[in-house]
């Protein structure tokens, strides 16, 4: 993980870049991205005719490219993007491209520490993954899902080793898809393979699969659960026991199953996005206790408050006692913490962030085109063109806020009392 202790938690306010002025320098400036520690702000810019570059804190990279997209900071602060030159695609990290180039790069994922950068690539019509520029030895004629281990050491995809022509429905139904881990395919084939999750240690892989048109199950390292269901959703690992938990459908209703056995006694109209508390003592999921109403259920017991549009981004506090989630009703977004809704609604609400001591919750929100940070239900006094997710200091007393106001990107360290009062 990233050691955020090393970040500057003392400088109160720092004007990092006059982002508004970039428009004068470049013909075109795309969305801004802020580095995790707040020290950098970057954007894809058009630096000349048919030439694109990345501007970081006002300075463009020396390299230019024919095309750039998907500019993202990794967890370790390295800035990556997918770039094209001379019809070849690759990944550029802090301006340096990988040595290998590809026919296309679709997706980039980072390990939790940011050290490994993995990409979903296509080369000569063959698909696979590349880690830090090194592609799999075996590529496949099709790949649809891309997953990596938390440490980024291993990559996996849903692949089709054999060709499949259009209209070959019976061949398809015999099973043409499987999982390739680091380029090596499992022996067993399935009709479909979907969402895949590595265990926290990266040693096991659980995937959603369909063994024929009607039977869905979870497959772990190539071995299916003995039970199948009319439908399943994405599995997760119990971080302590290694057991696998996935939402399953039976008789038109949803609940959670562990290693194939139904584990909750309650059934729901819908149940997904299950998650364990950090100590694995609690299991929560987003559920629809009745048709058209959404909430969070903890260990099978739904909260009383429900939302009509959706509930999303449920997050356990580090101590596992609280859950914060985002709710949406009549297209208005709000925040709900342990079944209590915060008073105001917003046009958009991002993912809640807990302080390390679990006491405070801060969230990026947007209303009428202006963004700010909400903490424990109270908005920060500044309304910005853009803010990024807040980050609490390790002791929880301060908060890093990254924002753009009046065309100026600031990095601020706020005592949390500035918002909570």
């Amino acid at each position: 993980m990233i050691d955020i202790n090393s970040w500057d938690w003392d400088t109160g306010e720092k004007l990092v870049a006059d982002t508004g002025g970039w428009k004068d320098k470049f013909e075109w400036v795309e969305e801004f991205q802020a580095g995790p520690d707040g020290e950098k702000v970057a954007a894809i810019v058009k630096s000349g005719e048919g030439e694109f570059s990345v501007c970081v804190n006002g300075e463009p990279w020396e390299n230019t490219f024919d095309k750039i997209w998907h500019l993202r900071f990794g967890p370790d602060g390295r800035l990556t993007c997918i770039v094209q030159t001379e019809m070849e695609w690759t990944v550029a990290v802090d301006g340096q491209t990988w040595e290998n180039t590809f026919g296309y790069v679709m997706e980039v994922k980072f390990s939790e520490d940011g050290k490994n950068i993995c990409a979903f690539i296509q080369q000569d019509g063959q698909y696979g993954a590349a880690t830090n520029g090194e592609p799999w030895e075996n590529l496949y004629s099709d790949m649809t899902v891309f997953a990596i281990t938390p440490d980024g050491q291993h990559t996996a995809g849903a692949v089709r080793p054999e060709p499949l022509g259009e209209g070959e429905i019976f061949k398809f139904q015999d099973g043409c898809y499987t999982v390739a881990v680091d380029g090596k395919a499992w022996d067993k084939k399935f009709v479909n393979v979907w969402h895949m999750t590595f265990s926290p240690d990266g040693k096991k892989l659980a995937v959603e699969a369909r063994s024929n048109l009607y039977d869905y199950t979870i497959v772990v390292d190539g071995v299916s659960w003995s039970e199948s269901f009319p439908c399943v959703w994405e599995p997760i690992f119990n971080p302590k026991t290694g057991a696998i938990v996935a939402p399953v459908r039976t008789a038109g209703e949803w609940t959670l199953a562990q290693d194939g056995k139904i584990m909750w006694d309650r059934f729901f109209v819908q149940c997904w996005h299950q998650m364990f508390s950090p100590d694995a003592s609690k299991l929560a999921a987003i559920v629809a206790p009745k048709y058209g109403r959404w909430t969070v259920a903890v260990d099978g017991r739904p909260w009383g408050t429900t939302f009509g549009d959706m509930v999303t981004d449920a997050v356990f506090s580090p101590d596992g006692t609280r859950i914060a989630a985002v709710g949406k009703e009549d297209y208005d977004w709000s925040v709900i913490v342990n079944d209590t809704v915060w008073p105001d609604t917003y046009d958009v609400v991002w993912r809640p962030v807990f302080s390390p001591d679990s006491q405070n919750i801060a969230i990026k929100v947007e209303k009428d085109g202006l963004q700010t940070i909400l903490m424990n239900g109270r908005p920060w006094k500044r309304e910005c063109e853009a803010v990024w997710d807040p980050v609490f200091s390790p002791d929880g007393s301060k908060m890093l806020v990254r924002s753009i106001e009046n065309g100026k990107y600031h990095r601020r360290i706020l005592p949390i009392t500035e918002i909570t009062g």
């Binding site: 969305e31 679709m106 479909n192 819908q270 629809a288 058209g292 959706m310 958009v348």
Partner: protein
């Protein structure tokens, strides 16, 4: 396509070779059929189906609603109730003890001789939803593995790629970047913003657009650019809003595809989803896929292209430079007209764009289906004549307007009408609203 004949005691009004049905039927056993029918009747359906069946007094008043019936010289085997008689009534009466050939015929009826357009629901005095009954028949056929080959292949595409046309993960963003390049030649500032989190609008389209109709993406990019909107398109699966699994009644895949679509909008933190000119995709996000997932309505406001253009024109964000001169008529696609009541907005948009608009008769929610929808055109070439002979009334309706252009704000309608126009030699062109809008709108930034 041969004329009607009796096979194994079952009357087929059209005899068509289709590997999906023929091979699938060979694998059926009476026991399997009985079990699946009863599983569906007891397990998946309930009072609604029973009430519909018990309430129908066999009056035949629904027949005049159906374009197949009207176009087939009032052949009663094509009437809505007639189709129920040949499928669901018999299954219920025989408690599922029907023959494989019966099921093959049932699949043919439900998948290719009914567009689930719901026009008959407006002609039944009791509001019996025959489209729903046909969907139940399709569901049974799906579970029995007897679905026409090509639509089944499309459902497989949805299951693998989450899009309709086996478009691979790289082909989608690559096509967008290509069309962005093209559009920049016209308006240099044009962008197709990929993966722009927090944009106001996620624009979603159907699989065939990147596959064959990249021009539509170009036109959309220009329209968004000129209107000055904050928008984005996802680079990941979830960009496709279409759903043929809905029409094969592989509801689990339908739900999966819709989930990815909505979750993509959620991930991108947009305020609403705007979708291209497609009808069935609208149905799947508006009242089918969302319902299967447990959403009473949709979690994000879904604006169909018609409403989107309406708002752009009404608010003056898009201005018309010079109206389209040729006489045009408008086809009302069932899924956004009967399905969403956008007919007045569509007429406003067409009247703003075109100088000579001529309405078809009947129109609005009473308009005849294109005979391509409901997955029928997706059943592929074997059923082309089913669609042609099954929609003479549409040809007559179009011809009577004297229009040179038929505007069809739906992909399936577009393709279906194109066939009708060429089969009946109507000499008209079929266009999307965006084709004309792109042509007649003011483009201030263009070079």
């Amino acid at each position: 396509m041969a004329e009607g004949q009796v096979i194994d005691g079952i009357y087929f009004n059209e005899v068509i070779e289709d590997a999906g049905l023929d091979e699938g039927t060979k694998k059926l056993t009476p026991e399997k059929i009985e079990r699946v029918i009863n599983d569906v009747l007891k397990g998946e359906t309930g009072a609604r189906l029973k009430t519909y069946v018990d309430t129908c007094i066999h009056c035949g008043l629904c027949s005049n609603a159906c374009h197949y019936y009207l176009s087939r010289d009032k052949d009663p085997t094509y009437s809505p109730a007639g189709k129920v008689k040949q499928t669901m009534w018999e299954m219920i009466k025989k408690k599922g003890r029907v023959s494989p050939t019966f099921m093959k015929r049932a699949s043919q009826i439900a998948s290719t001789q009914c567009c689930v357009c719901m026009r008959c629901a407006m002609y039944c005095p009791f509001g019996i939803d025959i489209a729903y009954i046909m969907s139940v028949v399709r569901r049974i056929c799906h579970l029995l593995g007897i679905t026409p080959l090509y639509i089944q292949d499309t459902a497989h595409s949805h299951a693998v790629t989450m899009n309709q046309m086996w478009v691979k993960n790289d082909e989608w963003p690559d096509t967008l970047q290509w069309q962005e390049d093209e559009a920049r030649e016209e308006i240099p500032t044009t962008r197709i913003p990929l993966e722009k989190e927090g944009a106001d609008i996620m624009y979603s389209v159907i699989g065939p657009e990147p596959k064959f109709l990249a021009q539509l993406l170009y036109q959309a990019a220009i329209i968004f650019e000129v209107a000055g909107l904050s928008w984005t398109m996802p680079a990941t699966p979830g960009w496709d809003n279409s759903d043929m699994a809905m029409y094969t009644m592989d509801s689990e895949i339908m739900g999966r595809v819709k989930r990815v679509h909505f979750e993509t909008a959620r991930r991108l933190r947009v305020k609403k989803i705007v979708m291209g000119e497609c009808g069935h995709a609208f149905r799947s996000v508006y009242d089918r896929g969302n319902r299967w997932l447990g959403w009473k309505m949709h979690p994000f406001y879904i604006e169909h292209a018609i409403e989107f253009y309406y708002n752009l024109l009404k608010s003056g964000k898009i201005k018309i430079a010079k109206k389209y001169e040729e006489p045009v008529t408008l086809h009302d696609p069932c899924n956004v007209m009967r399905g969403r009541g956008l007919y007045e907005m569509a007429r406003y948009v067409v009247s703003e764009m075109c100088a000579d608009f001529r309405d078809m008769q009947p129109n609005r929610e009473h308009n005849y289906c294109c005979c391509a929808g409901g997955g029928v055109i997706n059943c592929g070439p074997p059923y082309k004549m089913t669609r042609m002979l099954g929609n003479r009334v549409k040809a007559e309706q179009i011809a009577a307007t004297g229009a040179k252009v038929v505007i069809a704000p739906c992909h399936n309608c577009h393709s279906g009408l194109e066939d009708i126009v060429s089969h009946y030699k109507l000499g008209t062109h079929v266009k999307f609203i965006s084709d004309i809008l792109y042509e007649v709108m003011e483009k201030p930034g263009a070079v």
